[in-house]
């Protein structure tokens, strides 16, 4: 009677503790991304701030440049400076909630790959940037842009924007994760991210200026798409290789 009862008890210490169920990357990314978007939808913080900032910056440009309308390389420059500076706001907020509310510690306890957080944060930031551009580009066209580009030109601009957003999202995730650990977070983000993003600005601004010329837009040069693609690839690989080291302990 007692022998069979003690049998399982004696083997229990030898048996390994139940394996923590490993959460596949895709599931983890989906959960984290849902959290990211739910937070922003319930208490909108980053996107409205970025959108409002971009419109304000356009107004500032109107007065600083003393122009009612812009076109060509000036228009391209105004658009990209506005988008880039607005993106800085999103980057410096990216990890703040997780850092302050213990989300990072919770994530580290979960049996999953840390890359999941990188992917979720980068995709989340990418979505925020797209949302920003949905507001900022029409506002720019309405407030400052002189020529009215064709639908085709806007489509080409959208391709440029998406490729540039991918680069900004990857660099932003890396820089945001570094900056959130420093005492001077909001100072470090623009200082570090702006030089890193100069290749993006070069390619995006050069690519955009023929699209917004006064006498009808010329085609987009494909080589700028290649530069942006190369940039996204290099920083994608770098972020993948280095992100694990940024969220230890």
């Amino acid at each position: 009677m007692s022998a069979p009862a003690t049998e399982p008890a004696s083997t229990a210490p030898d048996a390994a503790p139940p394996e923590p169920r490993y959460v596949p990357l895709r599931t983890a990314v989906r959960a984290l991304l849902r959290k990211e978007l739910a937070l922003e939808l319930r208490a909108p913080q980053a996107v409205p701030a970025m959108a409002l900032f971009s419109v304000t910056t356009l107004v500032v440009f109107h007065f600083a440049l003393q122009r009612g309308v812009v076109d060509g390389d000036l228009a391209s420059g105004v658009l990209w400076v506005t988008l880039l500076f607005a993106a800085m706001l999103g980057i410096s907020r990216l990890f703040v909630a997780d850092h302050e509310e213990g989300g990072l510690d919770g994530f580290l306890l979960a049996p999953t790959d840390r890359t999941a957080l990188l992917v979720a944060k980068a995709v989340g930031l990418f979505a925020f940037l797209v949302a920003l551009e949905v507001v900022a580009v029409p506002a720019f066209a309405l407030l400052l842009l002189g020529p009215s580009p064709s639908f085709g030109a806007y489509a080409q601009l959208a391709v440029l924007l998406l490729l540039a957003d991918a680069g900004i999202a990857l660099v932003g995730t890396l820089v945001g994760a570094i900056a959130v650990q420093t005492r001077t977070r909001d100072l470090i983000v623009p200082l570090m991210a702006l030089p890193l993003l100069i290749p993006v600005v070069i390619a995006a601004a050069r690519g955009t200026s023929p699209l917004v010329l006064q006498g009808g837009s010329q085609g987009l040069e494909v080589r700028w798409l290649f530069v942006l693609g190369l940039y996204d690839l290099v920083f994608g690989l770098l972020a993948y290789a280095l992100f694990d080291y940024l969220i230890e302990d």
Binding site: L174, I178, Q181, T182, R183, T184, L187, I188, L191, M192, P195, L196, I198, P199, I202, A203, R206, R223, V227, L230, Y231, V234, L238, A241, L242, Y245, L246, E248, D249
Partner: protein, 245 residues
């Protein structure tokens, strides 16, 4: 590793090579047909730029080693490499600016891709020390600095490609021009100067490593002799600290 050994020999070799390179540059190399005497700054400016960039990349390589081994000594190597490259980088920007004024009449020329790329790289690395300084936890500081050093090291070539694509080719591209590049009589002083600058970098790097290591050892000895309380704790600093055990 003992960084303090053979420092005297290294210093003398640096001094001799630099002196010989400058002597050759001034008295042996022919006067440039277009730019005249001002072209002599080339023998300082270009080797300095090459060595500074290599130093940045080398800092990145040491940072990779640091992340792989978690050994604080690689962090110190990476820190000293980047720190010295920043000093050389300031020199590159100043000499480049002087050269631009002499040959194009402006202190700063935007359509000169190499100098512009260098400025961007310099501005990026200028955030290295503030970033280190604002992370208090020593282990975290080292880890984050390494991640930054690797990212920035990989950024250097990418940035050069992007800036070069964006601008006209006005920089004197001494090695890639169709008419054969640098004349033979200019090559010897140039390569000697490059060697001298490399030696200078290595010498300074070893001096600083030796100094930092010695201070750490001294602290450890003091702590052993007089007890932990007798040695004041290290204040907040951007410099990496070696384990004082």
């Amino acid at each position: 590793m003992l960084y303090g050994t053979r420092l005297r020999a290294l210093s003398i070799a640096t001094l001799v090579t630099m002196t010989a390179a400058l002597a050759l540059a001034f008295f042996y190399a022919p006067m440039d047909a277009d730019q005249g005497f001002m072209q002599k700054i080339f023998y300082i400016h270009v080797p300095m730029g090459i060595v500074a960039l290599c130093g940045f990349v080398w800092g990145g390589i040491n940072a990779i080693q640091h992340l792989r081994t978690r050994d604080a000594k690689y962090d110190l190597r990476s820190y000293v490499a980047i720190h010295l490259s920043l000093i050389l980088g300031a020199g590159v920007l100043v000499t480049g600016s002087i050269w631009a004024k002499a040959s194009w009449g402006h202190w700063w020329v935007w359509d000169e891709p190499t100098l512009v790329s260098f400025l961007i790289v310099f501005l990026l690395y200028a955030t290295y020390q503030p970033m280190r300084f604002s992370i208090e936890d020593r282990e975290k500081q080292a880890r984050y600095a390494s991640v930054f050093a690797i990212t920035a090291g990989a950024f250097v070539p990418l940035n050069f490609i992007a800036v070069r694509l964006a601008q006209a080719y006005t920089h004197p591209r001494v090695f890639a021009t169709a008419d054969g590049g640098l004349p033979a009589k200019m090559q010897l002083p140039f390569y000697l100067s490059l060697l001298g600058m490399t030696l200078l970098y290595i010498t300074l790097w070893r001096y600083e490593m030796a100094s930092k290591n010695t201070s750490a050892k001294l602290r450890a000895l003091r702590r052993k002799l007089a007890g932990d309380d007798a040695v004041a704790p290290v204040g907040r600093t951007a410099a990496p600290s070696l384990p004082t055990t």
